[in-house]
C-alpha cells in the first residue's frame, strides 16, 4: 500500500513515513524518420521534498487562522527603523537585526489596493489554481513593500480596493491559503474553504 510521504519533527530531527518517491520504468526514445534507431531514454522522477519555512513559519501558520502577519524593524539604531515589510522579512534588510512580527490583518482589510495585476492564461505543471490566474500585487498604507497574490473573485484593476480571505478549512499551509476579493464581497460568495 503506498502512502504520501509525511514528516514531523521530534527532538529537532525529521521523522518521515510513507513514500517519498514513485518508481516508473525508463522507456527508449526512437527516431521514427530513421529506422526507429535509438536516440535516448526517458528518465522518470517523482520526489517529495522536505522544506523548512524557518523564521517565516509564523506567517504561513497564521494564514490558516485568518491572520496576515508582517514584520517591522524596531532597532532604534537602524536608519530605516519603523519600516514594515510585507512580504514578511525575518531580518531587516538594512541593519540585519531580527524584525518584530506584527499582525497587519486590519491594515490589509482597511487599505489594501491593487498596485498592478496580470491575468495569465497559462500555468506550469503542478498548478492547482483555476485558470486564468488573476495575479495581483497589493499595496498597503504604511508598508514599504508590495505583496504578490491572486484575486479569487471578479476582474482586477489598478487601484481597486481588495480585502484578504483565508483558507481556514483544509489549509495547504502555502501562500495559496491567502487570496483576495473585491471590497464589499459577501461571505457566502467566497470560494470553498475560504473565509474573511
Amino acid at each position: 500500500m503506498s502512502m504520501f510521504g509525511q514528516v514531523f519533527v521530534k527532538n529537532n530531527q525529521y521523522k518521515i513515513k510513507g513514500d517519498f518517491h514513485h518508481m516508473t520504468p525508463n522507456t527508449p526514445i526512437r527516431d521514427a524518420d530513421n529506422g526507429w534507431k535509438l536516440l535516448g531514454v526517458t528518465n522518470p522522477r517523482d520526489m517529495t521534498y522536505i522544506h523548512s519555512y524557518g523564521g517565516e513559519a509564523a506567517f504561513f501558520e497564521a494564514l490558516s487562522q485568518g491572520k496576515l502577519m508582517a514584520t517591522r524593524c524596531d532597532n532604534p539604531k537602524c536608519e530605516y527603523k519603523g519600516s514594515v515589510y510585507q512580504p514578511f522579512r525575518i531580518h531587516c534588510p538594512d541593519c540585519l537585526k531580527k524584525n518584530t512580527v506584527i499582525d497587519m490583518t486590519d491594515i490589509a482589510k482597511k487599505s489594501a489596493k491593487v498596485h498592478t495585476f496580470m491575468v495569465c492564461e497559462r500555468s506550469g505543471a503542478f498548478n492547482i489554481l483555476e485558470k486564468p490566474i488573476k495575479f495581483i500585487n497589493i499595496e498597503f498604507d504604511g508598508v514599504a513593500t508590495i505583496l504578490m497574490s491572486y484575486l479569487s473573485i471578479g476582474e482586477p484593476a489598478m487601484g481597486m480596493r481588495v480585502v484578504p480571505i483565508f483558507k481556514k478549512q483544509g489549509p495547504t499551509y502555502t501562500i495559496l491559503d491567502l487570496s483576495w476579493v473585491p471590497a464589499g464581497t459577501k461571505e457566502n460568495q467566497l470560494p470553498e474553504g475560504f473565509s474573511f
Binding site: 527516431d31 492564461e121 497559462r122 504578490m148 502555502t174
Partner: protein, 478 residues
C-alpha cells in the same frame, strides 16, 4: 538597499586592458534529439578557433582558466554539468568554475572571465555558456522555470513565471503606455523586427516574416502580451575567448579579428518584484534630476521608482559601465547593441534603464526608426541598431548561452565579419535551414563600439558588456 554609499558607487577599474579575440556559437533550436550538449559546445569552440584561422587544439593551448555559464541544472538533470563539458572539451586539469545567474548567466560568465584576465590570474580564458531546455515537455519546463521565482511566496501561484513577470508589463502598459492602441502596435513592431532579422541569421531558431497584425492576432499569454511578444525557449551553446594584450596580439596574427577591448559590469535587484522599496533614480550621464521632477504628473501612477516598471539591475549595470568606459550618451557613443528582449515590452523598459531614452519614453526609440539597421522612415542607417541577430524573440534564448551569443553578434559587427558569418551558404546548409532569397547584409558599417545587456528574470541580475575597437576608446585609461 535604497541609498548607496560612496564605496558602493566606486567606478570599476581593470588592472590591465582585457580583450575579446574570438567567439563562436552552435546552431540554436527548440530541441536537439540527436545531439548531446557537449557536441554543441564543441561546435561553438571549433567556430571560435575557425575565426582565428586556428585548429581548436592550437587555441586550447592558450586557455588557462574556464568559466562555464549554465543556469538550470534541473533542466539538464545533471549537477556539475560544467565538469562534464570541461572534460569533453579536453581541458582537464585546468581550473574551471560554473556561473549561474538566470537569464543573465551568459553575461555573468563574461563578467567573471574578464576579471580573471584583468587581475592577472590568467592571460587567456574560455567563457562558454549553454542550456538544455528540451529534456522536459513545455508544461514541466514552465514549472522548472518558475523555480527561479521565490519558491514559498511566488512559485505556488500557478508555477508560471509569466505571472510573476508580466505584472510589471501590465504596470508599464497602463502607466507609460497609457493603454494606447498605438503603443500596443509599437510593441508588435518589435516582434516583427526581431523575427524579421532572424530570417537573415542561420543560427536563429525563430525566423518569421510577419506583420503587426499577425502579432496582434496571436494568442494572449497574459494580456496585453501575446505569444509573439515572447522570447523563444532554446537549446544551444556559445563561447568567447578573453585575454590580455600580448596574447590577443598572438592569437589574432592570422585572423581578420581585431582584438576588441571588453568591459563587463553588473547590477542586481530583488528576486521578488513585489519586494522593491522606493528610491531615487540613479542618474546616467545623459540625465538630470530636473527631467524627472514632474514625472508623476506626466505619467500618473509612475512616481514610484523603480516600482514595477524599471529594472534597477539594468540601470546599475549601465551606471557602472558608462562611467567605466566614458560613455556619455549611449545613442551617440555606441554603434550597435543587443538587448535582452524576453518580451517586447521588457525591450522597451530596457531602452529606458540603459538611457537610450528617458524613463517613460522608451517607445520613441522604436517609433523613430533609430533601432533598425535601416530606418524605415528615412531609408538611412538606423542611429543605434538593436538586436540584428533577432534577439531572444527571433534568434534564441538558450539561457546560459544568450549573453555570449549577443556578444558574438556585436563583435561580428566590430570585426566587420557579420556578412561572412551569417551569409555563408555552407552554414545554412549545414544547419538544414534555407537561406532566404531576400537575405540582407545587416553589417553595421564602420561599427566601433557596441553593447549587450544580459538580464535575469524580473531583473535579479543584469550585466552590461561593452566592446570597443581599441583605436576608438572614449576614455584613455579605461
Amino acid at each position: 538597499m535604497i541609498k548607496f554609499s560612496e564605496q558602493q558607487l566606486q567606478v570599476p577599474k581593470l588592472m590591465r586592458p582585457v580583450y575579446l579575440v574570438t567567439a563562436g556559437q552552435s546552431k540554436f533550436d527548440r530541441a536537439f534529439p540527436d545531439k548531446r550538449t557537449e557536441e554543441l559546445c564543441v561546435d561553438a569552440l571549433t567556430m571560435a578557433a575557425d575565426m582565428l584561422s586556428m585548429e581548436p587544439a592550437e587555441l586550447k593551448k592558450y586557455i588557462h582558466t574556464c568559466y562555464y555559464g549554465h543556469f538550470a541544472d534541473h533542466f539538464g538533470d545533471q549537477l556539475l554539468g560544467e565538469a562534464v563539458i570541461h572534460d569533453r572539451l579536453g581541458l582537464d586539469p585546468l581550473g574551471n568554475i560554473g556561473v549561474k545567474t538566470g537569464g543573465a548567466t551568459g553575461g555573468s560568465t563574461l563578467w567573471e572571465a574578464m576579471k580573471a584576465v584583468a587581475s592577472g590570474y590568467s592571460d587567456c580564458v574560455l567563457a562558454m555558456g549553454w542550456e538544455r531546455m528540451d529534456e522536459v515537455p513545455t508544461d514541466e519546463g514552465n514549472f522548472l522555470i518558475s523555480c527561479a521565482a521565490d519558491k514559498d511566496w511566488e512559485g505556488p501561484l500557478g508555477h508560471i513565471y509569466t505571472g510573476y513577470y508580466a505584472v510589471m508589463a501590465q504596470k508599464y502598459w497602463q502607466v507609460f503606455g497609457k493603454e494606447e492602441e498605438s503603443f500596443r502596435r509599437t510593441l508588435a513592431e518589435i516582434s516583427v523586427k526581431h523575427h524579421g532579422y532572424a530570417r537573415f541569421n542561420p543560427f536563429a531558431q525563430g525566423p518569421l516574416k510577419i506583420t503587426v497584425e499577425d502579432v496582434l492576432k496571436s494568442p494572449v499569454v497574459a494580456y496585453p502580451l501575446r505569444a509573439l511578444d515572447a522570447c523563444l525557449m532554446s537549446v544551444g551553446a556559445a563561447c568567447a575567448i578573453i585575454c590580455d594584450e600580448p596574447t590577443a596580439i598572438k592569437l589574432t596574427k592570422n585572423s581578420k579579428n581585431k582584438p576588441l577591448r571588453i568591459y563587463v559590469t553588473a547590477g542586481s535587484h530583488t528576486l521578488r518584484p513585489a519586494d522593491r522599496r522606493d528610491m531615487e533614480i540613479p542618474l546616467l550621464p545623459n540625465e538630470t534630476a530636473e527631467q524627472y521632477k514632474d514625472f508623476g504628473k506626466r505619467f500618473p501612477g509612475g512616481d514610484r521608482y523603480p516600482g514595477f516598471t524599471g529594472f534597477l539591475g539594468a540601470r546599475m549595470a549601465a551606471w557602472y559601465a558608462y562611467r567605466m568606459t566614458g560613455i556619455k550618451d549611449p545613442t551617440e557613443d555606441l554603434d550597435v547593441i543587443e538587448l535582452h528582449d524576453a518580451f517586447t515590452i521588457s525591450d522597451v523598459q530596457t531602452y529606458e534603464d540603459i538611457g537610450i531614452r528617458p524613463y517613460g519614453e522608451g517607445r520613441t526609440y522604436v517609433e523613430s526608426g533609430d533601432c533598425y539597421h535601416t530606418n524605415p522612415h528615412t531609408g538611412k542607417p538606423g542611429k543605434l541598431p538593436s538586436n540584428l541577430s533577432g534577439g531572444l524573440i527571433g534568434c534564441m534564448h538558450a539561457v546560459g548561452a544568450t549573453g555570449i551569443m549577443q556578444t558574438f553578434e556585436i563583435a561580428c559587427h566590430l570585426w566587420d565579419r557579420w556578412a561572412e558569418m551569417h551569409g555563408d551558404e555552407k552554414r545554412w546548409k549545414e544547419f538544414n535551414r534555407k537561406k532566404p532569397a531576400d537575405w540582407t547584409d545587416l553589417q553595421v558599417k564602420g561599427a566601433k563600439r557596441a553593447l549587450a545587456i544580459s538580464h535575469a528574470g524580473v531583473g535579479s541580475h543584469v550585466t552590461a558588456t561593452i566592446l570597443m575597437d581599441p583605436d576608438h576608446l572614449l576614455k584613455k585609461d579605461a
